[in-house]
């Protein structure tokens, strides 16, 4: 059975030592979010994930969801765990206190998300989707809609979904056919079929609030003719001054999918047949509302990739220390045993360190980006809010794509450490691989993320978003260029950063003339960008760890390990940027030269 231990020290290191979030929150006026309180929250969340949901992970995968007569049942124990999760107030962790939320920083919720994903990715889907619905309604809904739905979503007694995909349209939502016809009383009759709807139907909550993209009569064709509707499973009704689930609405689950992974998360076909819906936001502006959901959701998926990599690493590490096989090449190490633990072998170490350096570097990067959510929401200076928003917009596709690609690779590499035993279901590590695979696909396939990066984020405002990343890095490099102690980190970062600048300029220039050039470079560029960003975090972490190591005797080993991991990343992983750089500079021709029949 796989295990999971919340990496609390690592969270503390990033939050307190590297990002110094306490100072940031104090500056933002989040006076209640003191380091002590946050620490307590994270510790508590860690316990919950370790004790309540991680034990359900393997069984949930084995049992899966079931569908019978239109009813979806989650695997054994999910309902109980969900109720505890809800009662613990975890669902409304960052929600507005006005609706019963705890109003804690988003940065903290990112930490929770990672732990939930590591412990049980499928379980995390249910509250995760509610979070998306909460954000869409709170940012685009009317006051009445907010008052009606937000308290229930915050509490978790109701859950939410995002109904976008239809059989004929996935990435291109302009092809949506679901119709919404005004009913004359302010409501709409919504009719159509939605597929791949996560948490579309289940037995965890009293009601399910579907956010449905549909087309109004005579709406313009394509993406500019899409509107967003709230379609509850049960129509809300007031009862004794409280909102409760009322009559059944005409939205029903037709079947559930049988999937490679996240099998405890229900993935539903939803049929709407004159279902009653309410317009949210303006007519034909549904995509705008949808995007606020999607950006947060994409960050959430990135964190899923990270969480799965973490748990896979923990189990691979344990196995590598425990499993004895052969002897170290330079001479036996564990003389008391019949063989040495496989961790003595360089290649096993390389596998472990590849995952470790990714997980720890990506965690720091992810939290730095999550912190922008709090700055964007609470900073008083509009320029600071704009900068935070820019960085978020820029980094979202990078995190979504790289964290899930590298996260999947990490689960796979970790499984490799297990040898043949990793391939056996009962050992639980092949599940990480299967669960991770979807993260590269949903919420915008990773190729589409790369297009978003080069097509939208890069050219927007003459590259203003880029400034929010490139300037801090340039500043860090300039500040530390003469520090001999840091040279081994600063100089490879500077080199890779220079290449990234060059590639950025190349893509911007070429892409202006021929968009295929930018698109052909996009996925290599995204990976290169992500590696430099993680390299930046490693250089920062190395600097902090070196300073801390000197002053803390007991924890010196922890900081020492950070410095060594940074060194591993700079020497063994960051050079991958060179390869990406060359591929980018080779241009679109090697791809576009082919006639379709020549493939």
């Amino acid at each position: 059975m796989p295990t999971y231990t919340a990496p609390l020290d690592n969270f503390r290191f990033v939050l307190n030592d590297v990002l110094q979030v306490g100072d940031v929150f104090a500056r933002l006026g989040l006076t209640e979010a003191t380091p002590d309180l946050l620490d307590a929250v994270i510790e508590e969340a860690g316990k919950f994930c370790e004790n309540e949901i991680q034990p359900l992970n393997l069984s949930g995968d084995t049992d899966g969801c079931t569908f019978e007569n239109g009813v979806v049942r989650t695997p054994k124990g999910f309902k109980e765990a969900y109720d505890k999760f809800r009662e613990g107030g975890w669902i409304g962790l960052t929600a507005d206190p006005a609706y019963g939320g705890q109003g804690l920083p988003h940065t903290v919720s990112s930490v929770l998300d990672e732990m939930v994903s590591a412990a049980n990715t499928s379980f995390g889907m249910y509250p995760g989707l509610s979070g998306g619905a909460y954000r869409a309604i709170s940012q685009h809904g009317s006051q009445e809609q907010k008052d009606l739905y937000l308290p229930q979503l915050t509490d978790g007694i109701w859950s939410g979904t995002m109904c976008l995909t239809e059989p004929q349209c996935g990435t291109d939502l302009g092809l949506i056919r679901t119709k919404a016809v005004p009913d004359g009383d302010g409501t709409y009759k919504v009719t159509g079929t939605k597929i791949f709807i996560s948490a579309g139907e289940h037995d965890l909550t009293e009601n399910i609030i579907h956010l449905v993209l549909a087309r109004l009569p005579e709406a313009p064709a394509g993406i500019r003719g899409i509107s967003l509707f709230i379609v509850p499973k049960f129509l809300p009704r007031a009862e004794n001054g409280a909102t409760v689930a009322g009559p059944r609405n005409a939205i029903a689950c037709g079947s559930i999918e049988h999937k490679m992974g996240i099998r405890a998360s229900s993935t539903c076909v939803m049929n709407l047949d004159d279902a009653t819906g309410w317009l949210i936001g303006e007519p034909n502006k549904g995509m705008r509302a949808m995007f606020t959901m999607m950006n947060a959701a994409r960050l959430g998926v990135a964190i899923q990739g990270l969480g799965l990599a973490e748990v896979a690493y923990q189990n691979a590490l344990a196995y590598a220390k425990d499993r004895i096989q052969g002897r170290a090449l330079t001479g036996a190490q564990a003389l008391d045993k019949a063989a040495d633990p496989i961790i003595v072998h360089p290649d096993v170490r390389k596998n472990l360190l590849t995952v470790k350096s990714f997980v720890e570097g990506a965690r720091a990067l992810g939290l730095w980006v999550s912190l922008q959510l709090d700055i964007e929401e609470h900073a008083t200076d509009p320029k600071e809010r704009e900068a935070a928003n820019d960085l978020l917009a820029l980094m979202t596709p990078i995190l979504k794509s790289y964290f899930t690609d590298a996260g999947f690779e990490a689960t796979n590499t970790s499984m490799q450490v297990w040898g043949g035993h990793g391939y056996i279901h009962e050992n639980g590590v092949e599940q990480f691989v299967r669960d991770a695979r979807i993260t590269q696909i949903y919420e915008g396939a990773n190729g589409v993320q790369a297009l978003d990066l080069v097509g939208r984020k890069l050219p927007a405002n003459m590259g203003r978003s880029l400034r929010r990343f490139f300037h801090p890095v340039a500043h860090f490099l300039e500040e530390n260029q003469t520090d001999a102690e840091l040279g081994e980190f600063v100089s490879p970062l500077a080199k890779a950063f220079g290449k990234l600048q060059q590639a950025t300029g190349f893509i911007a220039q070429k892409g202006l003339v021929n968009p295929n050039e930018a698109a052909a470079a996009s996925s290599s560029y995204l990976r290169m960008f992500a590696l430099v960003a993680i390299g930046f975090m490693w250089a920062r972490m190395a600097k902090v760890a070196k300073a801390r190591a000197a002053e803390s005797g007991v924890r010196a080993a922890f900081y020492d390990s950070k410095v060594k991991t940074a060194r591993f990343f700079m020497t063994k992983i960051l050079p991958e940027t060179e390869q990406h750089f060359r591929a980018i500079m080779a241009g679109a021709k090697p791809l576009m030269d082919f006639g379709v029949e020549e493939f």
């Binding site: 405002n461 003459m462 590259g463 600048q501 950025t504 300029g505 911007a508």
Partner: protein, 785 residues
């Protein structure tokens, strides 16, 4: 020699109203002395107070009628009773008095008594037929008389309608045509003696048809103006903005006067109707921009200014809204056949477009022959006089004559005669590289350019570029001269342009082979607005300071190579030549500038300093400026003053005062003659060309810088300079004073270039500069931080 043009050396303008005075001012812009007479002022001590007052007013008018305030001295104001004798030695007398035939007759009778034999008399009338004006005059007068109809403001509007009568002597017409073209820089269009001549005849129809259909279509004012805008190539004022500009109160008067002079069956009369909204606007004092507003008005809401437009039905004002019309959006997205796409639509925007254009096109097509010899004059008149980017026939070609004819037919309208006879052919075609137009005879005829007119557009029709990339081309403009044309957006300078300069230098080599000289010029509205700021911003955003330094360094080397090329480089700027564009002219062996050239080193506006040798070259000029006291400090101070305040010349003449142009640099009044003049200049220089000697700089160093900075702080105290101005000025002062040097040090041009580079990159690292560039890119307006 009856048809030979004669020289005009002195001019008189009678009538010092808005038009008369401004015409007089423009004569001085051509360097001519002008007599400006008006009636005797009543109850004034000075009997010439009216004309004198008009000159004083000219000096305060914006945009300035004088290209240099000095020109006012060329005007001799007087009155029609005491000073009539001043007309005796004038070669041309322009009458620009009230549009009253009786008063004009009286004046002409008096002119007969004083004017010298063979002098030319013209009227600036816009409404009275020539044949009526010459009634009762002597034969000599009738022979010497024509109509020269200027458009307001005469310095800036290119159109001059030239009408000669049956009796007008050929030399009169030719003299006027040549003088107005070459020396006044006008686009001279020969018209027949018919009401409203060409531009106002077609223009009034267009405005009236537009007003009528806008009211019917249900479009808002701002929607109508969006439709009657870019996609049709009309000026940014659109239709209603133009009403506001012209003056709404004038419209009923002008239109009824126009109608009354036209035959009963004229289509314009069919369009003419009372407009309740026009009546209401006039009644309530909303007469246009000169009043409290018109179809548009600006209201203040605290510090914010809000643009409002009137509702055509209710007369109530509303805030101008973002326009979104399906047919227009489709048209704007479709560069090639945008106008046809618009007209093919079915919404209100498409209906309005058709309702405005169809009668206008029909009118224009049916009037060729009656108001002008050919359709070319009609197109030219609308382009020069109404600021249309395309004439009506060019627009019809864009739409497609066959499709258009079919539209008239399908909508139950008569197909205009000329459109019918085109039978699907274009009104213009290019045959063997020669532009031709469709004549009334149904055949094509060459569009003939006047002698001394050289257009890149014509060269492009008949030849392939010598070299070309995304932003620039090289053209063979004949006689061994190469023309470097910029073609980037707003002719902003980018690496492709630098590449092409390099190619030109390599192609011409030492200038002793096939190629002798280089002219840098183009047909665009603006010579160059400077470096591509978007590229700079992008590089700054990715902290690409190394790339930026390389970009600046490359530019400096390329410009230096231009300056020291073994063959002459002549720049031919017109319109704006700013920043890096101005720096190109500063590095040229000679400049032939259009009179309307606005040169300036405006870099400080975006928080940087001239980096491509602008500081160096202007300083070098000021150091040998004979008008300044000796020693480096006055020259440094003068250069600092010009660059730190981002001074832009308001004309080529003023550019000489600012030292952006040298006294020896040439000025062409007519835009169409600029390239030929520049080419001529280049060929003259090429006969015996030696490159210039490098300048050695002796600069004051830190002490000089202290003095400059003190001056800046005084400006800050006086509220004339901002906090960030101080930072930019400090960087500029460092460059201009030579940086960290001793008084005795000698600096080379490369030393100054290095200082420019260093200061430029340092400034780009400041948030203040980034904010300035960002604001310029997003709003087009400088940030004063």
């Amino acid at each position: 020699m009856p048809g030979m043009p004669r020289e005009i050396k002195k001019v008189a303008v009678i009538g010092s109203g808005v038009m008369g005075a401004a015409i007089a001012a423009h004569m001085t812009n051509a360097g001519l002395p002008v007599v400006l007479l008006d009636i005797v002022a009543k109850d004034a001590n000075d009997r010439s107070a009216i004309a004198k007052g008009a000159v004083a007013k000219l000096l305060k008018t914006e945009p300035a009628p004088f290209m240099s305030p000095r020109n006012a001295k060329l005007v001799t104001p007087g009155n029609l009773e005491d000073d009539l004798n001043l007309l005796a030695d004038c070669d041309w007398i322009v009458e620009a008095i009230i549009e009253n035939v009786k008063i004009k007759h009286d004046l002409y009778a008096r002119l007969e008594t004083v004017r010298k034999a063979g002098s030319i008399v013209t009227s600036n009338t816009s409404t009275i037929p020539l044949k009526n004006l010459i009634e009762g005059r002597s034969e000599a007068f009738r022979r010497d008389f024509a109509i020269t109809h200027f458009f307001n403001p005469p310095r800036y509007m290119r159109l001059l309608e030239l009408v000669s009568g049956e009796e007008t002597a050929a030399y009169v017409t030719e003299t006027l045509a040549r003088f107005c073209d070459v020396q006044l820089g006008k686009g001279v269009v020969r018209c027949h003696d018919t009401p409203g001549f060409i531009a106002n005849r077609i223009g009034m129809m267009w405005m009236q048809a537009g007003l009528n259909t806008a009211e019917e279509s249900g479009l808002t004012v701002e929607e109508a103006d969006a439709v009657a805008g870019k996609v049709m190539g009309f000026p940014s004022t659109g239709l209603f903005g133009l009403f506001d500009l012209v003056g709404i109160d004038l419209m009923p008067h002008v239109s009824s006067s126009m109608a009354s002079s036209l035959p009963e069956t004229d289509p314009y009369r069919g369009q003419l109707r009372d407009s309740p909204i026009i009546t209401k606007l006039i009644e309530t004092g909303y007469t246009g921009r000169k009043g409290k507003g018109g179809f548009y008005r600006m209201t203040k809401n605290g510090a914010a200014r809000l643009k409002e437009a009137v509702d055509l039905k209710t007369g109530e004002y509303h805030a101008v809204k973002q326009v979104s019309i399906a047919s227009l959006d489709a048209a704007l997205a479709d560069r090639k056949t945008g106008l046809k796409t618009l007209l093919s639509g079915t919404d209100a925007g498409a209906r309005f477009a058709w309702g405005m254009l169809a009668p206008t096109f029909a009118y224009a097509a049916d009037l060729v022959g009656e108001i002008a010899d050919t359709l070319v004059e009609v197109d030219e008149a609308m382009k020069f006089g109404y600021g249309w980017k395309f004439g009506p026939f060019e627009l019809m070609d864009q739409i497609g004559t066959a499709w258009l004819a079919e539209q008239y037919r399908a909508r139950g309208l008569a197909i205009p005669k000329l459109l019918g006879s085109a039978a699907g052919r274009n009104f213009y075609r290019v045959e063997n590289g020669q532009l031709q137009f469709l004549g009334l005879d149904g055949g094509y005829h060459d569009v003939v350019r006047a002698e001394g007119v050289l257009l890149l557009a014509d060269i492009k029709r008949r030849s392939q570029p010598l070299a070309k990339n995304g932003s620039a081309s090289l053209w063979d403009i004949g006689d061994g001269v190469v023309c470097l044309e910029f073609q980037s957006k707003a002719n902003s300078l980018d690496p492709d342009i630098m590449d092409m300069i390099g190619k030109a230098l390599a192609l011409i080599g030492v200038g002793k082979g096939d190629w002798k000289a280089l002219v840098i010029g183009n047909d665009a509205d603006n010579f160059s607005v400077g470096a591509n700021l978007g590229l700079v911003m992008f590089a700054v955003n990715i902290a690409g300071y190394g790339q930026l330094e390389e970009m600046i360094g490359t530019g400096q080397q390329i410009y230096k190579a231009l300056k020291y090329a073994p063959f002459p480089v002549v720049s031919a700027p017109a319109g704006r030549a700013l920043g890096g564009g101005c720096e190109i002219t500063l590095h040229s062996a000679a400049v032939q500038a259009h009179a309307e050239t606005y040169l300036g080193l405006v870099e400080v506006g975006v928080g940087v300093i001239p980096g491509w040798g602008g500081c160096k070259e202007l300083l070098a000029r000021q150091l040998v400026n004979p008008k300044l006291p000796k020693g480096p400090i006055p020259a440094v101070a003068a250069t600092f003053q010009t660059i730190s305040t981002a001074q832009v010349s308001k004309s080529a003449a003023e550019a000489k005062d600012l030292m952006y142009l040298r006294e020896t640099d040439g000025i062409s009044m007519n835009r169409d003659r600029l390239l030929a003049d520049a080419k001529g200049r280049a060929l003259t220089l090429a006969q015996d060309y030696t490159p210039p000697k490098p300048t050695e700089f002796h600069l004051p160093g830190a002490t000089g810088k202290t003095a400059l900075n003190m001056a800046v702080h005084d400006f800050v105290t006086a509220g004339k300079a901002t906090q960030y101005d101080v930072v930019v000025a400090d960087a500029l002062a460092t460059v201009l004073t030579g940086g960290d040097i001793d008084y005795a040090d000698t600096l080379s041009e490369d030393d100054i270039s290095a200082l420019e580079r260093k200061a430029f990159i340092a400034l780009l690292k400041n948030d203040g500069t980034i904010a300035r560039i960002e604001q310029m890119l997003t709003t087009g307006k400088p940030l004063r931080n």
